[in-house]
Symmetry: C2
Subunit: 124 residues, 2 copies
């Protein structure tokens, strides 16, 4: 059956073995971050209920918040029509999803071709 | 200045010239789809106020909804800390964002390692 009407999970990892994973706050519905998972990270996420990613910069499995305490507790995982992107509805622990100390990584608005406006300053 | 604290837009396109773009309903905050933009698609989106993507399957600029009427009117564009992903808050016209006729592409929940559950059947 085609990817879009089957009830069988069959993730379409890209040519580097990754899938895009969006973390969305399960309460506010704010998009917190976009990161990447390989098969191992996806399996660990499903198994533990906490978000795991593949760090492309460090080239290693990344248990989000393992050192900072900013863990992400997964309430639900959704997959898209062609099974090459997921959305996780999560409960974000600690200071937030972003390494800058903000709750979301999407704290700037595009104002023009070259200008950004901060919409979520660091409040701590 | 580093990518994460500058107010200058400087999109970090990947090695294939693309950036991941998330379309989120500006009212319900539902994540509708994830697609890709090259520089031209991003510029067209900013210029016209309607979402344009780069179709990786067709290898061409894709004005979303140009033929189907399911255009996406952009209210706001956010960019993440390392400027390699964007979220668009949009007003979705027509039948929805998904080619299957659903509002969102994320209409299935991951139940287990191999099982999906449809949470948003086609209602039309």
């Amino acid at each position: 059956m085609s990817h879009d009407e089957t009830d069988t999970l069959n993730i379409k990892f890209d040519e580097t073995g990754l899938i895009a994973a969006i973390a969305q706050d399960s309460t506010t519905k704010e998009v917190l971050m976009l990161a990447w998972m390989n098969k191992e990270a996806f399996d660990k996420t499903l198994e533990t209920g906490q978000a795991h990613y593949w760090s492309r910069s460090r080239q290693e499995l990344w248990h989000k918040g393992a050192t900072s305490g900013a863990t992400q507790h997964v309430q639900e995982i959704r997959i898209d029509c062609d099974q090459d992107a997921i959305v996780m509805l999560i409960d974000q622990k600690g200071s937030g999803a972003c390494h800058t100390g903000r709750k979301s990584c999407f704290y700037r608005m595009v104002e023009s071709q070259d200008k950004l406006i901060f919409v979520d300053p660091i409040s701590k």
